[in-house]
């Protein structure tokens, strides 16, 4: 009897294991009707040349299992790791469009290039005349289902985006219409110089709203790939769109494994189970760099900025200047082992609006500045004034290496005689950023989201902005920001941005410490995984290849 009970228990556990391994209803991979979509696309692209891919040899380090898989199907399938996974593929909602863009499913009217410019993609041009923008679509663009892309469909998409995504609700205030099949006219309430950049956001990806029946799991878009298997908050598989308007797609498909942890990604790369991934950790970077025959590591300064805000209400000018003269960004970048590049200003120095200057690190000058302000060095090596020790409250949160940054800054400040205390918060936005209860606040955010400086300047330097919580205020700066808001000439915008940021730097209101590197590792022979583009929302495209 007892044996029977035990056997029954074992059977239940095994049964549950097997049923779960088969996937449950809630997270079952969704097999989309990819063959049907392909068939449609084939019909639409009858005149297109058939892809003439030759069978590629798998990379040497692939496991036997993978070798067999690749060889038996004779297809070029890229295996990549993704650090995030979402429950939906609805291009317009939340940040899901970032991932449909990474998977090569959706495309926007413009696409950010290596030089941070909004280059043509679905649209070939965007001309502004005062408050009116005329956008012309490229010729021959069709959705993967075969329907041609029209200006009317673009308008519908932008209206839907405004409805379903709070961050893009402002698009609802624009008057949008299609003047013909390929031209749309957008009239903004005020002069809006950054529309072209905004339209390069992956959330502005264009979906065939008429043909799509399931926005969450099978959107019909224009990208070089179409979804073939989607597991909400899990792995994603795509296959090539044979009717891609942009020409031949080199890969036959790709698999994105949702892997959050760094160690499994490294091990999967070593075992040959994945071919590439980005956001490589510093520990893994060392491993890859030590084996250049196997791996190709590409690291470029990205758009995500580590910076600190100096509180002008609690720190006098001399202390803020001393802090900025002391914090050694190069040493910090070196300590962070290649994951960060030392910043000068908030933007990449390669951009026209990233041309600012900061004083060189000079700890002797920092001491002189403090002493000139009446501080005297105490017997414990800490400056004091009026009997009060000079101590700075450093507020930070433990993400994006800011915890390490806090410790390094504390150490560097102590070396010149500035004491500090560390205050860690789990949520900076509702604590020290909201209350201003800090002397030095560390923060990390995307400084350049679409190749234009206004977003960051507006968020941090404009008086009353949420991240202008250190009390920085300058009338001339305000005037310049208003000019920047309406300036349409790119060169003049860059000059204005540089002047605005320089004012903040000269006022010692901020310290721009590092720009996170966009670091991608690729197995030898793999290319085109957006490794040279400093934005997080690009991945595979038609040029991605495995040699």
């Amino acid at each position: 009897m007892k044996k029977r009970v035990l056997a029954a228990c074992l059977a239940v556990v095994m049964g549950m294991s097997l049923s779960a391994c088969g996937g449950s209803a809630g997270t079952a991979p969704v097999q989309t009707d990819a063959p049907a979509a392909e068939q449609q696309a084939d019909t639409a692209a009858e005149t297109k040349e058939e892809p003439s891919e030759t069978k590629e040899e798998p990379a040497e380090t692939k496991t036997d299992e993978q070798d067999a898989q690749t060889e038996s199907s004779g297809e070029k399938i890229l295996h990549a790791a993704a650090s995030f996974a979402y429950p939906s593929l609805d291009v317009h909602k939340e940040y899901y469009g970032w991932y449909t863009s990474i998977y090569g499913i959706s495309e926007a009217l413009f696409k950010m290039d290596e030089n941070m410019n909004a280059a043509p993609c679905l649209a070939k041009s965007a001309e502004a005349d005062g408050k009116t923008w005329t956008i012309t679509l490229n010729d021959g663009i069709a959705f993967s289902g075969g329907n041609p892309l029209t200006a009317e469909m673009v308008v519908k998409n932008l209206k839907r985006l405004a409805e379903v995504n709070e961050r893009f609700a402002y698009l609802g205030e624009f008057d949008m219409s299609a003047s013909d099949e390929k031209t749309l006219i957008i009239t903004t309430p005020e002069i809006y110089p950054t529309l072209r950049n905004d339209l390069a956001s992956p959330e502005c990806g264009i979906v065939d709203l008429d043909a799509t029946t399931d926005f969450d799991q099978a959107p019909v878009c224009t990208g070089p790939f179409v979804i073939s298997k989607f597991q909400p908050e899990g792995d994603v598989e795509v296959v090539k769109n044979p009717a891609y308007w942009g020409g031949d797609v080199k890969l036959d498909g790709a698999v994105f494994y949702y892997m959050q942890e760094d160690d499994p990604k490294l091990l999967a790369m070593q075992s040959g189970e994945i071919d590439c991934y980005n956001s490589v950790s510093s520990a893994a970077l060392e491993v890859y760099k030590a084996d250049p025959d196997q791996y190709n590591v590409v690291s470029i300064p990205g758009a995500r900025l580590q910076f600190y805000i100096l509180n002008e209400k609690t720190l006098d000018d001399a202390v803020r200047e001393a802090v900025n003269l002391t914090v050694d960004k190069d040493k910090i970048a070196s300590y962070l082992s290649g994951t960060v590049s030392a910043a000068v200003g908030p933007f990449n120095t390669g951009a026209a609006y990233g041309k600012v200057t900061v004083p060189a690190v000079d700890t002797e000058k920092a001491k002189t500045v403090l002493e000139a302000d009446g501080y005297t060095l105490g017997s414990d090596g800490i400056y004091e004034k009026d009997g009060k020790k000079l101590s700075v409250n450093i507020a930070y949160y433990a993400a994006r290496s800011l915890d390490t940054l806090a410790l390094l800054i504390q150490e560097q400040l102590k070396a010149v005689g500035i004491d500090s205390t560390l205050t860690v918060e789990e949520d900076p936005d509702s604590t020290y950023i909201a209350t201003g209860d800090f002397d030095l606040a560390l923060y990390c955010m995307i400084a350049d989201k679409a190749g234009d400086p206004l977003y960051f300047i507006d968020s941090t330097l404009k008086e009353g902005a949420y991240y202008d919580c250190g009390g920085f205020s300058d009338d001339h700066c305000e005037e310049l920001i208003e000019q920047l808001r309406y300036e349409t000439d790119s060169a003049k915008r860059a000059a204005l941005a540089n002047e605005i940021v320089q004012i903040a730097i000269d006022d010692n209101a901020f310290g721009y410490v590092g720009l996170f590197n966009s670091t991608t590792v690729l197995r030898k022979g793999v290319s085109g995984f957006a490794e040279n583009i400093p934005f997080d929302f690009y991945g595979i495209d038609a040029t991605t290849d495995i040699q």
Binding site: Y86, E261, D263, R304, I446, Y466
Partner: protein
């Protein structure tokens, strides 16, 4: 006759007392869950940060206060605390745990999917752990201070000291890179279950061995064991008696472990890409996804209480002496 009537009355009284106790238990559970949910709801309300802010800035993009407030309005975050709690509680009584603040998906299927995955992982690792630890604990207790005992204690010490994230990575390195018997990416198969189960089972086995060994040793020092030995009872019968008498306490140890296991192991789930409830809830806490957190609290509260009640009942069934 009077004695028989009296006995009959006592019997009926015992029965009604038992029924009353069984009626009280679910009422007690509901009260516990209401108090628990209120406390957690209050803590979430007091915690800094809100789901609108987390949702809009999840990729590090700053948004304006107007955009943030519009999202807060949409999620109903400006309404008073008691109104929000009351609405949530009413929804629960109607069988609706609400919609996730993170992605607008219904909470119940999300939690159930994660829970099922966690139940599988927890059951398999518990089974493996008990299969290994039980005989080893008996052996160690039986051979106290001799070589088998030292060897088992050493193993237990190592198992107990190794954090499971380290075990996970070491296992992956050994089995996937060195020996190459498993792939690193193996979710969706029995292979995928093996490494997370072993990673969870190793430290748990270490703990179980120590706890069970201590329980067996306590039983072995009881007078009845000495008496049995003096009467010349065979060792295997003696062992069976010791095991039988230790089962009540061992059941309690296992019940406590089940509670911990059902909470999920975020680290293991992340490393092995196992979409269990631990990872789901950790992500929900980070996103301040109140409906999911509250749903988790209800489920876990129920599991804890039910498992403890069952362990209690099991303990009394195995050792009726304590059932006064």
């Amino acid at each position: 006759m009077n004695q028989a009537l009296s006995a009959g009355r006592e019997g009926r009284s015992d029965n009604s007392g038992r029924i009353l106790r069984w009626v009280k238990k679910p009422i007690g559970l509901i009260l516990i869950l209401i108090v628990l949910s209120f406390l957690v709801f209050a803590l979430l309300y007091l915690a800094p940060g809100d789901p609108a802010e987390k949702r809009l800035t999840s990729q590090g993009v700053a948004v304006t206060k107007e955009v943030l407030d519009a999202e807060r309005e949409r999620l109903g975050l400006f309404r008073p605390f008691l109104v929000r709690y009351g609405e949530w509680l009413l929804g629960v009584f109607r069988g609706d745990l609400g919609v996730s603040f993170k992605d607008d998906l219904p909470v119940t299927p999300k939690l159930m999917t994660g829970l099922l995955k966690t139940v599988i992982l927890a059951s398999a690792s518990l089974l493996l752990s008990l299969t290994v630890s039980f005989p080893l604990a008996v052996l160690a207790a039986w051979k106290k201070d001799r070589i088998p005992d030292h060897a088992v204690r050493l193993l237990s010490f190592f198992g107990n000291s190794l954090p499971n994230f380290l075990i996970s990575v070491l296992l992956m390195y050994l089995l996937c890179i060195r020996i190459r018997v498993f792939p690193v990416i193996a979710t969706g198969s029995l292979q995928g279950l093996f490494m997370p189960v072993v990673s969870l089972a190793i430290p748990m086995t270490g703990r179980f061995i120590r706890q069970m060994r201590a329980e067996f040793l306590a039983q072995l020092s009881e007078d009845y064991v000495g008496g049995m030995r003096m009467r010349g009872v065979k060792e295997r019968f003696l062992i069976l008696n010791v095991i039988r008498n230790s089962l009540g306490h061992i059941l309690t140890i296992i019940a406590l472990q089940i509670g911990t296991l059902m909470g999920g192991s975020v680290v293991i789930e992340n490393i092995f890409r196992w979409p269990g409830i631990g990872k789901l809830v950790m992500d929900s806490v980070t996103a301040r996804d109140y409906p999911v957190i509250m749903g988790f609290v209800l489920i876990m509260g129920t599991i804890y209480v039910v498992v403890n009640q069952l362990a209690d009942a099991g303990f009394h069934a195995l050792d009726p002496r304590g059932q006064a």
